[in-house]
């Protein structure tokens, strides 16, 4: 492997200029409306019921990641790579948690809230290591006058920052170096997750100001991770033996457990994103049940028609597709809207996995793009529709009215920006990592399995 220092520098420079150049796009008119982002408004009252709910939601999203996502992914690989997947998710979670405290929260939610200059695209360094955030600091919620301890917002958002890079792991499973995975996730988290989270969720963020709707992270989390996964899968190239030898999931029981824990944890993800415990939280939770149920049944039923068998893996995959799609719409969709959105996502993601992927022959090992990328797009665009009050939704009114068309355009803009941004960052990050340490394990290590070759252990004895 030739370590190409020049390309590393070029890559880093490209990333830096990406961040630096984009503020030019910022709209001077970025709205300064009240935001999810913490602001020490004096009049905010904290209710311990909300606090309790945010603590629980945080814990749920962690459960969703470890062991939820780890098991969902782990069951799908061959047994010789089981621990490598568990370890990548586990260590990835640990690493991002520390980066979040170090600078992630500050870059995502620190800085001016007026969207001036670069602040439309990224926060600042004012809250490095949670500087100034004490147990008494308060963040605003979506309800006027209602606050929650800022630390609950910090930990809740930490879990979002941690699960998003972890999602990408499914695309590179069974062949990437452990160190390379870690470094790649760290770079991508810094240059793609943080700015996009800032743009969409921070007061004054570029997309936030444009009115992009993303209740719990369809764009920030799923499109973002799905696209990075696709790029990584293509750059890495397929696993040895891909499309030649059988690579059947080694333990679908673990995958099913993982899918169930993803679902359970996702209630914290989606309903927690309301930042309060009220009737709308219950609506978001209900939508997260019904959209998912509809998607699981849609996928399994379609499989029955196409292939003759409704599979358990199909139902689980459909459920995840539904969860992804309802994520941006969780608090905006009405009952019927959620069900329809879920069903559509189930069918479209099935198509992406069964038809789209084989056509292009990229080896997205565990279908991160097919489920999270595509499902995220269905959700982001569908949100514009199902949020319409005329369709039973709870979308925000502009001058007393809700225009599906204009919301659709905004959502599409957000999707395009996230796709391009994430793809560019992922590609450059991979080039850097390749230059620094190489991306893939040796072929013989891949044959032996990463558990033994990388981690020196085996899952089952």
């Amino acid at each position: 492997m030739t370590v190409n220092k020049t390309s590393t520098f070029l890559g880093t420079a490209a990333l830096a200029s990406l961040l630096a150049a984009l503020p030019a796009l910022a709209q001077a008119t970025a709205a300064a409306t009240a935001a999810a982002a913490p602001a020490a408004t004096p009049a905010l009252t904290v209710n311990k019921g909300d606090t309790a709910w945010m603590l629980v939601s945080t814990i749920l999203v962690i459960l969703m990641t470890i062991p939820g996502l780890a098991l969902f992914y782990g069951g799908l690989v061959r047994s010789k790579n089981m621990l490598s997947v568990l370890m990548q998710v586990f260590a990835g979670f640990c690493m991002i948690a520390l980066l979040w405290v170090a600078y992630g929260y500050s870059l995502a939610f620190g800085g001016p809230t007026d969207g001036s200059g670069i602040s439309a695209f990224i926060g600042d360094f004012s809250k490095l290591f949670l500087n100034g955030v004490t147990p008494d600091s308060i963040s605003a919620t979506f309800s006027k006058g209602v606050g929650i301890p800022e630390l609950t917002f910090v930990i809740f958002q930490l879990t979002f920052g941690a699960i998003t890079p972890a999602l990408i792991i499914g695309a590179v499973a069974e062949r990437m170096k452990f160190g390379a995975v870690m470094l790649f996730l760290a770079i991508w988290f810094t240059f793609s997750y943080l700015p996009i989270a800032h743009m969409v969720w921070a007061s004054g963020g570029f997309l936030f100001s444009k009115g992009a709707l993303d209740f719990a992270g369809g764009t920030v989390v799923h499109i973002n991770a799905g696209v990075a996964g696709l790029v990584a899968a293509i750059v890495l190239g397929p696993r040895v033996g891909f499309l030649k030898e059988p690579m059947a999931p080694h333990n679908l029981t673990f995958t099913m457990i993982g899918a169930c824990l993803l679902w359970v944890g996702w209630f914290g993800f989606n309903a927690g994103s309301n930042l309060e415990a009220n009737g709308l939280t219950a609506q978001a939770l209900l939508n997260t049940i019904t959209a998912t149920a509809a998607a699981a049944l849609a996928w399994a039923t379609a499989e029955k028609f196409i292939r003759g068998h409704a599979s358990a893996l199909g139902a689980a995959s459909g459920a995840v597709a539904g969860l992804v799609a309802i994520t941006p719409a969780a608090g905006y969709a009405g009952n019927l809207g959620a069900i329809v959105l879920g069903a559509v996502a189930g069918l479209v993601c099935l198509w992406a996995v069964v038809t789209l992927k084989p056509r292009f022959k990229y080896d997205d090992s565990l279908d991160v793009f097919g489920v999270h990328g595509i499902g995220g797009m269905v959700g982001a665009l569908g949100t514009a529709i199902v949020a319409a009050p005329s369709l039973g939704g709870f979308g925000p009114l502009t001058d007393g009215a809700y225009s599906i068309g204009s919301h659709f355009v905004t959502q599409l803009t957000a999707v395009v920006i996230a796709v391009v941004w994430s793809a560019v960052v992922a590609f450059v990050a991979l080039m850097i990592v390749k230059a620094v340490m190489g991306l893939r394990v040796t072929e013989s290590a891949e044959n032996d399995g990463l558990d033994l070759s990388t981690h020196g252990e085996r899952a089952y004895n």
């Binding site: 690579m247 059947a248 999931p249 292939r307 068998h309 599979s311 996995v353 069964v354 279908d367």
Partner: protein, 112 residues
């Protein structure tokens, strides 16, 4: 002595064991194996990918017997393992030169 080896369907093990018991054959060794033959496999689909499964689960039974018992054992297995459907398996007979019982050191037929 002979070693009688039979590849059978897993669901026939219990019948075979009983058939051999009634011949007063009380020893055997069983291995889980996978078989490939005229019986066709099936295909499995995981997400988009289809896998052809050529090998089907079978059991291999090995019974060391005295020369004169060999035919009776073969017959007993054939009858008890038969379902009449494809994939019922094979019986192989080998010459067995020497047998030792580890516990006692006995050899030959006494070791069985």
């Amino acid at each position: 002595m002979k070693l009688v080896v039979a590849i059978i369907k897993p669901s026939r093990l219990e019948e075979v064991r009983q058939a051999l018991n009634s011949l007063d054959v009380h020893g055997m060794t069983v291995t889980e194996v996978k078989g490939y033959g005229r019986q066709k496999g099936h295909s499995e689909i995981y997400r988009g990918t289809e896998y052809a499964v050529h090998f089907l689960p079978k059991l291999k039974i090995e019974i060391a017997v005295d020369d004169n018992q060999s035919d009776a054992v073969v017959t007993a297995i054939r009858e008890s393992a038969q379902t009449g459907r494809i994939g019922d398996g094979k019986i192989f007979v080998f010459d067995l030169e020497h047998v030792v019982r580890i516990r006692t050191g006995e050899t030959g037929a006494a070791a069985l």
